[in-house]
């Protein structure tokens, strides 16, 4: 038998293959043996709680900001509400009832913010008022996004919770729309007002940049330059 033939004979052994079922089972076991992540963040309910908590935080942050501009509300009350909501989420269990109650509070807070939006028109400093509309808009947007994520991962949520989520989502979207509209109105009014002012060279430059960005539809960038006006 020559070398070539010998090698050919040897190569026949490459027909030996593992059972396909074993191959996939072994692969699955390999990674399933991994210790499960025990942090509450990785538990389905924990993830919901995290998202809801994030939502509460942004809503409360926006509410706190609005309150600072609103003479009828005290910042102390807002922080009390804030603490109460956070404590509730910190102790939140799996109970869907708790989630519903929390969502109710979030919805109420969003509605409160929506009503307070009008107060922004009375704020003396239009720059700050505009910044607040940006906060509200961002809050509403993130709220709607957070709800969308919760809905997508809704394996453990009851119909009642889902219904509450839809309500909060609607309020969030409406708030985003309203704050966006208000922001545009206020921005245009503020730009017009700034143009009548006697601005120094630096502020004039900031105003021009803000206008350029605004005309390009880049409101966030425009806001940065608007906020710089009058600082120096």
């Amino acid at each position: 038998m020559d070398e070539k033939q010998l090698i050919k004979e040897l190569q026949r052994l490459n027909r030996i293959k593992p059972n396909k079922h074993w191959v996939s089972l072994c692969k699955r076991d390999l990674f399933e043996q991994e210790p499960k992540e025990t942090s509450w963040l990785f538990m389905p309910v924990g993830r919901h709680a995290l998202l809801l908590s994030s939502l509460v935080l942004v809503v409360v942050a926006a509410a706190a900001g609005l309150t600072l501009f609103s003479p009828s509300n005290s910042p102390v009350t807002v922080y009390e509400n804030f603490n109460a909501l956070v404590s509730k989420f910190a102790s939140q269990g799996e109970a869907n009832e708790t989630a519903v109650a929390s969502l109710e509070e979030i919805r109420a807070k969003l509605e409160e913010i929506s009503v307070s939006l009008d107060n922004l028109k009375n704020v003396k400093d239009p720059g700050q008022a505009l910044a607040m509309t940006e906060v509200v808009k961002g809050t509403a947007k993130r709220g709607a996004e957070a709800i969308e994520r919760i809905k997508q991962d809704n394996g453990t949520l009851s119909r009642q919770v889902l219904a509450s989520l839809v309500e909060v989502e609607e309020v969030s979207k409406s708030l985003e729309q309203r704050s966006s509209q208000l922001q545009q109105e206020m921005f245009e009014a503020y730009l017009a007002e700034l143009q009548t002012r006697d601005l120094n060279a630096s502020d004039r430059e900031n105003l021009e940049k803000a206008e350029t960005y605004y005309n390009e539809g880049k409101l966030s960038e425009a806001m940065i330059f608007i906020m710089k006006i009058g600082v120096n």
Partner: protein, 169 residues
């Protein structure tokens, strides 16, 4: 961690067949080969996820496999149980007779291979069955490329002698 898992899953897919075959050819039992191959990947995954550097994964896997086989025999399992259950005939639709003939030929070759020195078995399996290059085998066996070439030559010679040896019933 997910990134590491994906990376190791690719390593697994690429090597599982070869590692299994290597162990099976050395042990001769489907069940034991499956158990040992699973251990090889479990140990390698542990090492891989710990972040310790593995320069050549194929070489590393074979080193672990060889250690597992040595450990298996050290623990007292001295007999090789040959079973052709592991043979998957890949020819298109062979007849039962053809399939039986293929299995019988493979078993015969496997028997002869098992009579060779351990190192000769390894080098022949890696080079001609698993199709690794001499360079890769040198890494796997921790030898120089020249040493591998010499070993291959001797292994083939030994194999030829065994195959040409008349069978005495």
């Amino acid at each position: 961690m997910e990134h590491k898992k994906r990376k190791f899953a690719k390593i697994y897919d690429h090597n599982v067949e070869k590692i299994y075959r290597f162990i099976y050819l050395k042990i001769g039992s489907v069940e034991t080969a499956e158990d040992l191959a699973a251990q090889v990947f479990a140990k390698s995954w542990k090492q891989f996820k710990s972040g310790k550097e593995i320069k050549n994964t194929s070489a590393y896997l074979f080193q672990v496999a060889r250690a597992e086989i040595a450990d298996y025999y050290r623990k007292g399992s001295r007999y090789k149980i040959i079973s052709t259950q592991a043979v998957e005939v890949t020819d298109e639709a062979p007849t039962p007779e053809q399939e039986q003939k293929i299995k019988s030929d493979i078993e015969e070759m496997q028997d002869v291979l098992n009579e060779l020195k351990e190192e000769h078995q390894d080098v022949l399996i890696l080079r001609y069955i698993d199709d690794y290059s001499v360079e890769e085998i040198a890494l796997m066996m921790n030898k120089s490329e020249n040493a591998v070439r010499v070993m291959l030559h001797r292994a083939l010679k030994e194999l030829r002698e065994k195959m040409e040896k008349p069978v005495i019933n």
